[in-house]
């Protein structure tokens, strides 16, 4: 903790919600700022994801698989089946299916950072001189919007690649309402709204879930920290243990579900980019 005295509840929460940055952010949007903690954990977990899977892939046997290989195969087959049913171009699938796999495993791991005790890594960080640390990269809107923006770029790329630039632009102005010139601006506006809504909701959904989950873990941690030797505070402490257990168990579902939803929406959006109106 940066402060000398024990922090009060509001200070505790604010401290836990402060990113480790290269310099202080001014205003809502500041392109010179980097969240070092988000980048550290997201890149670290991303590398962990791909290297563990690559190591396994290199040793993958077509004979009897080990347990770990079987577990990875289950995920790979799940992703592969979903990709096959949603994206109908085998050529696009060569990139999109591995991308969906990466997204699923990576986001799952990033979400799973939420299950670590909320003060554990910040305490360790504090001990080695890192005074602000947020350990859940997906609770940072920059990370989730970054990924959903990536999906948007992918959609644009495949739209142009599959339909051709001319056809795609034609579609921007003629779908969904029709080819009448008076409808062009309306069509275009609808298309733009669709793209923005897709991308923002895609990123915000994951961010919102993880941010809320993290906040509740902090509140539960505050209940536990209320211990002061009195009966009332003792009850709060017991409540903190029970609530923390329940919320963590429930959160196992949430982190998996959110990772799955993000992956599925990625596939759906890319699949939509393949379809002509």
């Amino acid at each position: 903790m940066a402060t000398e005295h024990a922090p009060n509840a509001s200070e505790y929460i604010v401290h836990h919600l402060t990113f480790l940055t290269n310099h202080k952010q001014v205003g809502l949007v500041d392109w010179s700022v980097l969240h070092l903690d988000t980048l550290f954990f997201s890149i670290g977990l991303g590398l962990l994801t791909v290297f563990i899977m690559a190591r396994l892939a290199a040793r993958a046997t077509s004979g009897v698989p080990g347990r770990f290989q079987a577990a990875v195969e289950i995920i790979v087959e799940m992703v592969s089946d979903q990709a096959k049913s949603i994206v109908h171009s085998p050529e696009s699938r060569q990139f999109v299916a591995p991308l969906a796999l990466t997204v699923f495993v990576w986001i799952f791991l990033m979400n799973a950072m939420d299950l670590l005790p909320v003060d554990l890594l910040p305490l360790i960080g504090n001990a080695i001189g890192v005074h602000y640390l947020r350990v859940v990269p997906t609770a940072d809107i920059n990370a989730t919007l970054g990924m959903s923006l990536g999906v948007l770029l992918l959609c644009l790329y495949y739209s142009v690649k599959i339909k051709g630039l001319g056809h795609w632009i034609h579609e921007l102005f003629t779908a969904p309402f029709g080819a009448h010139p008076l409808l062009w601006p309306i069509n275009f506006a609808m298309q733009m709204i669709e793209f923005v809504a897709k991308t923002v909701s895609h990123g915000m959904r994951l961010f919102g879930n993880m941010y809320a989950g993290e906040l509740i873990f902090m509140l539960i941690a505050l209940m536990g920290a209320a211990w002061a030797g009195t009966f009332g505070s003792g009850l709060l402490w017991v409540g903190g243990v029970i609530a923390g257990t329940l919320w963590a168990i429930f959160h196992i579902l949430i982190i998996t579900l959110q990772a799955f939803i993000f992956m599925m929406l990625t596939l759906v959006y890319v699949g939509q980019a393949h379809e002509s109106h």
């Binding site: 952010q25 809502l28 990924m147």
Partner: protein, 157 residues
């Protein structure tokens, strides 16, 4: 809710990781999965083939057994028939030998009886002469009586 350059960093990392997965993770795992699927399919068809082969072989074995049993029965029947024939032949041979022996014995007995009759006949003649000599106590013309006795001898035959 601060937007900053982290967003673009994350965007780049996103594509790099996806590219890496596409290059080094996805293909080997998919290859292993496909190969295993093929192995299982091959194994299943091999099992089917083996099963039908087994059925065929079993049928063949049953046929062979049946054939063997039939030929054994045939052999036994033949042997029994031959045995019966041998016994029959032996019996006939024995009967023939016995008959022959009996005939021979009968013939021999006939000859012996004849001889005995001859000898007896000789002696009867001598006895009769002697008896007559004793009875008559007188000279008898041997010549005349010899014819008489010869006639008697002839009658005794």
């Amino acid at each position: 809710m601060n937007l900053n350059a982290t967003l673009f960093a994350q965007l780049v990392v996103f594509f790099i990781l996806a590219w890496f997965t596409m290059k080094f993770v996805w293909p080997p795992i998919m290859k292993a999965l496909d190969e295993r699927a093929k192995k299982i399919a091959d194994g299943l068809s091999a099992a089917d083939k083996a099963k039908s082969e087994l059925a065929l072989t079993e049928k063949k074995v049953v046929d062979e057994l049946k054939k063997a049993r039939e030929s054994a029965t045939e052999l036994r029947a033949g042997a029994e028939k031959q045995g019966a024939q041998l016994i029959e032949e032996a019996r006939q041979e024995a009967a023939r030998i016995v008959t022959q022996a009996r005939q021979a014995a009968e013939a021999e007995a006939g000859v012996a009886a004849q001889r005995a009759k001859e000898a007896l006949r000789e002696q009867v003649a001598v006895l009769a002469v002697a008896g007559a000599e004793r009875i008559l106590r007188k000279e008898i013309n041997a010549q005349v009586h010899a014819d008489l006795l010869a006639n008697l001898k002839q009658e005794l035959k």
